[in-house]
Amino acid sequence: MLELKNIQTRYGKIQALKGISMHADPGEIICLIGANGAGKSTVLMTICGITPASRGDIFFKGKNVTHMAPEKIVSLGISQVPEGRRIFPYLTVMENLDMGTFLRKDTKQIKKDLDYVFHLFPILAQRRHQPGGTLSGGEQQMLAISRAIMSRPELLLLDEPSLGLAPMITRQIFDIIRKINQENRTTIVLAAQNANLALKLADRGYVMETGTITLTDTGKHLLANEAVKTAYLGI
């Protein structure tokens, strides 16, 4: 489904990714863990072509997307819930969701998907005419996830979905991520500093440190790994 081969990405002089190789198979949940600044967000932005790779190749569904424009890449079936949610503050909740369907034409299915996200997050239905900027942090995260669902991705990239949220909302959001994965066989790549929940959810994980991958294993094994425990689980 997704494969990164020796990806390097730089911000001017700073080399943020120093040769990242990873893959995700159809229907898998993959998680990227690592401290702040390790390069997790950059991996997701590089996949989408926002910060294009300077070296290496990215394949999505067998197609080399390394040098494609972001709007072309996402049109192949990728959707990202970026760090900080990036809700359009002056668009209403409904308009934010509409933007998720920008590339779709199947009006009937869109209507069904809208009912689906309103069923997942009833609060959004209540707030549908409110500007996105007036929602609380948790509501914005729900909206960001819903907006991504509205584009019916085959691959969903989630960056820090639980950052700054109350534990109860965090749990709710992780339940919904699992549900999206199970119901639609959506492949998921999840970046998280808070590794505990992420590793429990994930089939496999990659541990990142300053732009490289230092360790990869199944979620279960990483949870049990002593080094991971001390560095990322705070145990």
């Binding site: 926002i50 709007e71 996402v74 002056y90 668009l91 920008f102 584009s151």
Partner: protein
């Protein structure tokens, strides 16, 4: 106070305001989307007027009836101005998308001077008479002592353009994409919006409204020259800042506030300082309310 005189001033102010609004929209939409003051915008308006003049002269010479002339002159002016606006962005602004703002601003001023001199060379530095494209409608005769048919057409056309533009921005897929792009370009492209295309569309829409403004004011004043874009351009810019640059309703409101106050000021105080008045307003807003009447804050756009 003579009520008829005041009415005349108000109608005159609405006419001015309409023209300012048509131009101010281009400034504010472009600012909303790429945070650039497009100083060459006034020249797009001037080019629209010149195109209208050339096309209407040729068509009239070939004996085309009045309505045909108006239609084709307007269509040509709009299309031509849109081509200029589109190309302007592609060659002078797009290559500088990630350059410091000052570079882009200098590029904008350079393009403004370039267009003025290009028209000076290709046409003339003199004022050219512009034909009265708008006929004295029979049905308007009884009221024409209060307001000319041309003024009526200016106000009505502006109102129609405003309504269409509002519908475009609020309800269409492209309009929503324009608003989304103005608020967060990275997120917009993550959702599949072609940001470069949206920026081009913004320049095209702004150029079209400017061309309409150019034609209307030219048929009102009856003459044009290569510098006509400068003063009106600056005033429309003041109107956009007054309303809150980046905000579309703001630009329209600012344009009418400026047009009306200018008209009343020249009517009651002095017409010698007519053009200084706009700058006075600009200085006052920049001091007391830099975000303008409807501007939410520095980040509020389209």
């Amino acid at each position: 106070m003579n009520p008829e005189y005041l009415t005349a001033l108000i109608l005159g102010g609405l006419t001015r305001g309409s023209i300012y609004a048509l131009i101010a929209l281009g400034y504010t939409m472009v600012y909303g989307i790429i945070q650039l003051i497009n100083f060459a915008h006034g020249e797009i308006y001037m080019i629209g007027a010149f195109t209208g003049l050339i096309v209407s002269t040729v068509l009239t010479m070939h004996g085309m009836p009045g309505f045909g002339v108006v239609f084709f002159a307007a269509a040509a002016a709009i299309i031509y101005a849109c081509c200029y606006g589109y190309t302007l962005e592609k060659i002078a602004y797009k290559p500088l998308r990630h350059a410091p703002r000052l570079s882009v601003l200098i590029s904008a001023i350079g393009m403004s001077l370039f267009f003025q001199n290009y028209v000076l060379l290709a046409q003339t530095s003199n004022f050219l008479p512009f034909p009265g494209l708008i006929p004295d409608f029979e049905f308007w005769k009884p009221y024409s002592h209060v307001m000319s048919a041309t003024e009526l057409v200016i106000i009505v056309t502006t109102a129609i353009v405003m309504v269409l533009l509002t519908l475009l921005i609020k309800f269409t897929r492209i309009g929503k994409a324009m608003r989304a792009t103005s608020q967060d370009k990275i997120m917009a492209s993550l959702l599949g919006i072609n940001v470069n295309q949206i920026i081009s569309i913004t320049f095209i829409v702004g150029s079209a409204t400017a061309a309409i403004g150019g034609l209307l004011i030219a048929s009102h004043t009856g003459q044009i020259n290569a510098y006509m874009g400068f003063l009106v351009g600056i005033k429309a810019f003041v109107a956009a800042v007054l309303g809150g640059i980046g905000s579309i309703p703001g630009a329209v409101l600012g344009a009418f506030v400026l047009g009306l106050s200018e008209s009343v000021f020249t009517g009651y105080v002095s017409s010698d300082y007519e053009d200084v008045f706009a700058f006075l307003i600009l200085v006052l807003i920049l001091i007391f309310r830099p975000s303008g009447i409807l501007g939410r804050d520095q980040t509020q756009k389209v």
